[in-house]
């Protein structure tokens, strides 16, 4: 199996406060890796280090290695990096504008202007996100009129439109109803063949349902990582056991 993202001794500090400590972790290609852990464990910071959104925050210092396709993310051209590694945020953030414009935003950034090509990409992405059937008749209406679940799937479509290889999702289903959540989980399963997913989730059961491997973060440390089944039935670390069984959280 190909190693897609590798973190070696990754440390992140913000204003001298340690957020991530000694993270050693590998994300394999075409897997769904779930990252679980209580709030403030550094899960989001880890994601934002990968696509370098962390750089926009003041006072952060990153040390150690963080590689995408064997090259440190710092050495990647940042715009290219962010297209290779897409991100879905916890709150769906549709850009003001039409559904079409939202999904076409990424491709337009790359310079694609032909309406025909854009329309093709938009349809392909919306289908992949399981949203096409619901919006195909109103592509040019405002994206803000969609429901929460639809908006999140729109964000997924928007990210897929730039053809990333890795998709990072930061608690994408928080605040969504169970049906929307199920739809998104289903999308993950179908898309797995062509993408690598990193799924940060507060919902332990979701991790169990969807992921191949699971990593447990606690207070900025990677406590344990392994196949999902093993993490949930026979965790090696007591802390992991406490968390997945609900004793701490």
């Amino acid at each position: 199996m190909v190693e897609k993202i590798v973190a070696r001794d990754l440390k992140v500090m913000v204003y001298k406060k340690p957020i991530l400590q000694n993270i050693n972790l590998t994300v394999m290609a075409q897997e769904i890796l779930a990252i679980i852990g209580p709030a403030h464990s550094g899960k989001t910071t880890f994601l934002r280090s990968i696509n370098r959104l962390l750089e926009n925050q003041l006072g952060f210092i990153r040390s150690g290695e963080l590689l995408l396709d064997n090259r440190d993310v710092k050495q990647w051209d940042v715009d290219l990096l962010r297209r290779r590694v897409g991100m879905i945020f916890a709150t769906p953030i549709p850009l003001p504008g039409t559904i079409f414009d939202n999904v076409a935003y990424g491709p337009r950034l790359k310079g694609i202007r032909n309406m025909h090509s854009l329309a093709e990409i938009v349809e392909k992405s919306l289908r992949a996100a399981f949203l096409w059937d619901e919006v195909k008749d109103r592509l040019f209406s405002s994206a803000l009129r969609l429901s929460g679940g639809q908006q999140q799937r729109l964000c997924i479509a928007r990210t897929l439109a730039v053809e990333p290889e890795v998709v990072m999702m930061d608690e994408p289903c928080s605040g969504l109803d169970p049906i929307s959540t199920a739809q998104i989980e289903q999308a993950l399963r179908e898309l797995k063949a062509n993408y690598t997913f990193i799924l940060v989730t507060n919902n332990v059961k979701q991790a169990a349902r969807v992921s191949d491997r699971t990593a447990f973060f606690l207070n900025g440390e990677l406590v344990e990582i392994g196949p999902t089944a093993q993490i949930f039935t026979a965790p090696k670390d007591k802390r992991t056991d406490d968390y997945v069984s609900g004793r701490i959280g």
């Binding site: 959104l53 715009d79 945020f89 709150t91 953030i93 850009l95 935003y105 950034l109 790359k110």
Partner: protein
């Protein structure tokens, strides 16, 4: 609360309300007085014909055209600089000595009296740069006058855009300039436009800076290098020289109508803007 204190409060309430009412009265009086004497003068002939005998008779068409040219020129020149400055201050820099200096420059420029702008425009544009009295000189001078307003309102509008929008763009591989151009500015447009429209109003009302840069000829201008008289300047000259009180009132009325409309329009925009972000 003592009884006495409550009585004092009642009295104060009445006193302050009275003074506020007085202030509004002044406003209504001014508008009413000018409207009463000036509205009857507004005929299509007045608006569209040329002045005769230095404005004693005839219409005010050239002044309307000159006012339009100068005001438009001012905002066409000032807006790119103003918006650009606002973009730099919000997107491309953190608070530092440099940004403080930039802001100081804008604030200080806002406080310069209009007559000083007139002197400056005269010596630089009219004389040294050899533009002569011209709409161009007037427009450029006015552009500097309204620049701080555009900077201030644009910055406010840009800062109101939630940071998440920018993050979405970045996460899709957008560069900073792409993000500003495609996400920030289009969404900040209503706020920016408000500032531009307010500046339009100010340009229309301005007299001291214009009279020394655009001149006071009553001829119809052909290019922006021609001199011209704006409505405000025309009104001033008519009133001062006592040439035609009737036409003075008419010009003043037109001025006030235009400014009222401009103000109303900018409020409409602000209203739409606050509704949109909710």
């Amino acid at each position: 609360m003592t009884c006495r204190a409550l009585i004092i409060q009642r009295l104060v309430w009445f006193g302050l309300a009275l003074l506020t009412f007085l202030t509004l009265l002044v406003l209504f009086f001014i508008i009413g007085y000018i409207s009463a004497k000036g509205a009857p003068v507004i005929t299509p002939e007045f608006l569209f014909s040329l002045p005769v005998r230095m404005g004693k008779e005839g219409g005010i068409l050239p002044t309307i055209i000159v006012t339009l040219y100068i005001a438009l020129l001012a905002i066409v020149v000032a807006t790119p600089f103003g918006v650009g400055t606002a973009v730099y201050l919000t997107e491309y820099s953190r608070e530092s000595a440099l940004t403080r200096i930039i802001r100081f420059g804008a604030d200080a420029l806002a406080g310069v009296p209009s007559i000083i702008f007139g002197l400056f425009g005269f010596i630089l544009f009219v004389i040294r740069l050899k533009m002569g009295w011209s709409i161009l000189a007037g427009g450029l001078t006015l552009a500097m006058m309204v620049l701080p307003t555009i900077i201030r309102t644009s910055e406010e509008a840009i800062r109101a855009i939630p940071y998440q929008f920018r993050e979405v763009s970045y996460s899709l591989g957008g560069t900073k300039s792409q993000t500003v151009w495609r996400v920030v500015l289009p969404n900040a447009l209503p706020g920016i436009l408000t500032g531009v429209i307010l500046s339009l109003g100010r340009s229309v009302a301005e007299t001291a800076a214009v009279i020394f840069t655009a001149g006071s000829t009553l001829r119809l201008p052909r290019t922006i290098l021609d001199p011209g008289r704006t409505m405000a300047v025309h009104f001033y000259i008519l009133a001062r020289e006592g040439l035609s009180m009737e036409r003075a009132y008419g010009t003043a009325f037109l001025l006030i109508i235009v400014i009222l409309l401009i103000n109303a329009f900018s409020y409409l925009l602000m209203f739409r803007l606050t509704r949109r972000l909710k």
